[in-house]
């Protein structure tokens, strides 16, 4: 988004291809951002709106790049526009269809990371850009079975007559001079650490789930509760799916130390009498204002104990986190009502497809390889193709924005040179 805005501001036309129904990425799911505690949507939403309104940006949402041919200055990209089964020109984003859907409250919400339910027709979140409904083709009863009552409820409810089950996939040909890859990341799958009982114990959640729990737009309207109960003992576990060869993740995810500090702060803020413990290996607070924030959080009464836990199990009805407090040299069993796993950043599951499609190289860690680790951090080995954000490796918001601006500047130089040459 940032790269698009910069390039568009420089006077070039930008096609922004987003595979999800809305732009915004994972940042839209976050509650507050470290270390300033800015509300994530409050700083993100204006950018999203800028993208939507910019005369030089053409947004293809719910679309995917299918192929890229050509070379720097003369790329031909084929973009697959997936059918939303909603006419975006007619849809006003009023949500009447969403309310009417027979599957309302029965389909797991990706946006709330499984902590709430949506319907088969949905708008991922209230600030979505574009603010248009999308029908989930895998869940919609009418699409999967051919009938949904006499008339599908969404169709009946839509006063704008925007529901269109006849929509087909479309291929769009685009000619571009430069390409920026900003496909983001997946979260480490906590099921791969079965010793923590994720998926088995409902009160063991991931960092991203905590964000939804704490967010005012989340399933609990920002109250940190599980089944209506406020947790009084909260344990955060650092480095889940980072720095861990046993699950094939050797790198540090760079954001978890700080997001955990922020989340520990949020628990203390919302539940002042909660006992909050962070179990860590080392704390990596290397960015601007990070160490100060880490100091502040400890000052608020969060206890940092050195020792990475080994397992979680139940003792009676309570969860027990088993660890060694390595500074004491003693084994401890910490009781907890809520355990938050600081799950790391993983390459997107389909990163391999994209490296093939764009003829890029993956780094050994599975992220995309930059042309030179120090001197050409946003270039790839394919001329005219640049990297921005977490697709190149784990990074926080300021770093992702900085890289986006760098990628935009590289793209602008390329486009200028092409113009002058022709």
């Amino acid at each position: 988004m940032q790269a698009s805005l910069d390039i568009a501001d420089a006077g070039f036309l930008v096609y922004l291809v987003e595979r999800e129904p809305s732009i915004g990425g994972h940042m839209a799911q976050l509650d507050k951002t470290f270390p300033t505690l800015d509300c994530s949507s409050c700083i993100l939403t204006p950018k999203m709106v800028d993208v939507a309104r910019h005369p030089n940006i053409q947004l293809f949402s719910y679309a995917e790049v299918a192929s890229v041919d050509g070379e720097i200055g003369h790329f031909q990209a084929r973009v697959k526009q997936k059918p939303r089964y909603v006419d975006v020109d007619r849809c006003t984003g009023c949500s009447l269809c969403v309310e009417a859907c027979r599957l309302k409250g029965r389909v797991t919400s990706e946006f709330d990371v499984g902590m709430s339910k949506r319907g088969a027709v949905y708008i991922p979140f209230p600030q979505a850009v574009p603010l248009k409904a999308t029908i989930d083709p895998e869940r919609c009863v009418f699409i999967t079975r051919g009938v949904c009552g006499k008339v599908p409820a969404c169709k009946e409810a839509c006063s704008a007559e925007a529901i269109d089950f006849e929509q087909k996939e479309k291929m769009i040909e685009l000619k571009v001079g430069a390409i920026i890859v900003a496909t983001g990341f997946d979260l480490f799958d906590a099921h791969l650490k079965p010793e923590f009982g994720y998926g088995l114990y409902p009160n063991v959640i991931t960092g991203l789930q905590f964000e939804r729990l704490s967010s005012a737009s989340g399933p609990t309207r920002g109250k940190i509760t599980l089944n209506g109960q406020e947790p009084k003992k909260v344990v955060f576990i650092q480095c889940v799916g980072s720095r861990d060869k046993s699950v094939g993740v050797e790198y540090c995810s760079r954001v978890c130390c700080m997001y955990t500090a922020k989340q520990a702060h949020l628990v203390k803020e919302k539940i002042p009498d909660a006992e909050v413990t962070v179990l860590y290996i080392d704390v990596r607070a290397f960015g601007k204002g990070f160490e100060e924030f880490y100091d502040r959080v400890r000052g608020e009464g969060v206890v940092y104990r050195r020792g990475s836990p080994s397992e979680i199990y139940k003792k009676g009805e309570r969860l027990v986190v088993r660890a060694e407090d390595t500074l004491l040299g003693e084994s401890v069993q910490l009781e907890a009502d809520l355990v938050v796993l600081a799950t790391g950043i993983a390459p997107r599951g389909d990163a391999q497809d994209l490296t093939d499609l764009l003829r890029l190289s993956p780094s050994p860690d599975g992220f995309f390889q930059e042309a030179h680790p120090k001197l050409r951090p946003v270039d790839t080995e394919r001329e005219g193709v640049y990297l921005a954000g977490c697709c190149q490796g784990p990074k926080d918001i300021p770093d992702a924005v900085a890289q986006a601006k760098a990628a935009a500047s590289s793209a602008i130089i390329t486009l200028r040179n092409c113009m002058e040459a022709s």
Binding site: E195, I281, D282, G307, Y313, E324, D325, T326, S331
Partner: protein, 371 residues
């Protein structure tokens, strides 16, 4: 072995002292055995006094530390290396020394006569492998000699016969796999037993070997060099017999059963499904899982030489905890698939639940009931 060599041999320089090893160690809640600290001491002390480390005998080599290490280190092997220093210096518990002596002389750690090894099979019509068979049933020491575990071997034979498996045993030619010798640090003896076994097996055209014990299975599968046939733990073999319809389980076994994952089968070899598959195939049987199961299973404290020594363990064994957990679950039977688990859990069950309380059975005994 010198301390510097310990650090190099076990890549201790790569340790980040995160504590997951000790945090997962089933002994660290009970004794002063702290594997993370041992790693650190081996790394930084110029003269680490291993000889005074009695805690080294606490380890049951369940390998949870190895499983959890985020840096791919193998602390279990370091314990074995440290024990080998103790063994070389003759500083070993006398009960372990007796077991090792028996191993060297009689090929079993139970001080039993070599020529009585196959007595359990008398009258069962079990062929010796020399009479020709492609499947070799490697019985193991406890199932050969211990009256309690003999029942497991007999149940297995019963199932093999029912399924029409052509198999043979080594009879009195069979010697211990050496797994426990290796784990108490007697690596020379392990190598000797390995050589003996390989030599014996080499005489027969075996295609597949099936073991009773996960400990034997693990040694053959992961530690023996130059094995030229496939090895399976019996749960893998029997699960397949059931799959292929060769072992119809027809009688109802109306019991509530929980399953203890043996460390050498589950944590160390990731065999989680097959034992459960067998249990679920038994009509009428209700399987209730422990909260701590599979990768989080709790060791019974029977491995790593712990059948012969307590180490500094001051209290009851983890097997007792397990029995209590099973009773809380409302289980009538703890099923397992390992001779050591069977013996330790049964001991614990008698203490905790009394003679007529909770039963401890091998999966094969439940299968035999269903035949």
């Amino acid at each position: 072995m010198e301390e510097q060599n310990l650090a190099q041999a076990y890549r201790l320089f790569e340790c980040i002292q995160c504590g997951r090893c000790t945090g997962g160690c089933p002994m660290s809640l009970k004794t002063r055995f702290n594997i993370r600290r041992l790693i650190y001491e081996a790394l930084v002390y110029e003269n680490l006094d291993i000889e005074s480390k009695k805690v080294l005998w606490d380890c049951s080599t369940c390998a949870t530390c190895t499983l959890r290490c985020p840096k791919g280190l193998d602390p279990t092997e370091m314990v074995i290396g440290m024990r080998s220093i103790l063994v070389e210096g003759g500083r070993i518990p006398s009960t372990i020394r007796d077991a090792l002596k028996s191993l060297a002389i009689r090929g079993n750690p139970l001080t039993m006569a070599k020529e009585e090894r196959a007595d359990w099979a008398e009258g069962l019509g079990v062929k010796e492998i020399s009479e020709g068979a492609k499947v070799l049933y490697f019985v193991g020491c406890s199932p050969s000699y211990d009256p309690r575990v003999q029942k497991v071997a007999k149940a297995l034979v019963q199932a093999f016969k029912k399924a029409g498996v052509e198999f043979g045993i080594l009879g009195n030619e069979e010697v211990c796999c050496g797994s426990e010798a290796r784990r108490v640090g007697e690596i020379g003896l392990f190598e000797m037993l390995q050589e003996l076994n390989l030599e014996t097996w080499g005489e027969y055209p075996v295609e597949l070997m099936v073991t009773t014990s996960p400990h034997c299975y693990n040694a053959f599968q992961n530690e023996y060099q130059g094995l030229d046939f496939k090895v399976q733990h019996y749960t893998q073999f029997v699960a397949r017999l059931i799959d292929e319809g060769k072992l119809p389980l027809s009688k109802e076994v109306k019991r509530v059963v929980t399953y203890q994952d043996p460390c050498f089968l589950g944590k160390q070899n990731k065999i989680f499904e097959e034992p459960r598959k067998i249990l679920r195939s038994i009509p009428g049987l209700e399987l209730r899982e422990f909260d701590r199961s599979r990768e989080r299973s709790l060791c019974c404290e029977g491995g790593g030489g712990r059948m012969w020594a307590e180490g500094t363990n001051p209290e009851e064994r983890l097997a007792h905890t397990r029995v209590r957990e099973a009773m809380d679950l409302g289980a009538e039977v703890i099923a397992t698939a390992c001779p050591f688990c069977l013996l330790t859990l049964e001991d614990a069950a008698k203490t905790v639940a009394g003679e007529d309380g909770l039963q401890v059975m091998d999966i094969m005994e439940l299968v035999a009931e269903a035949l």
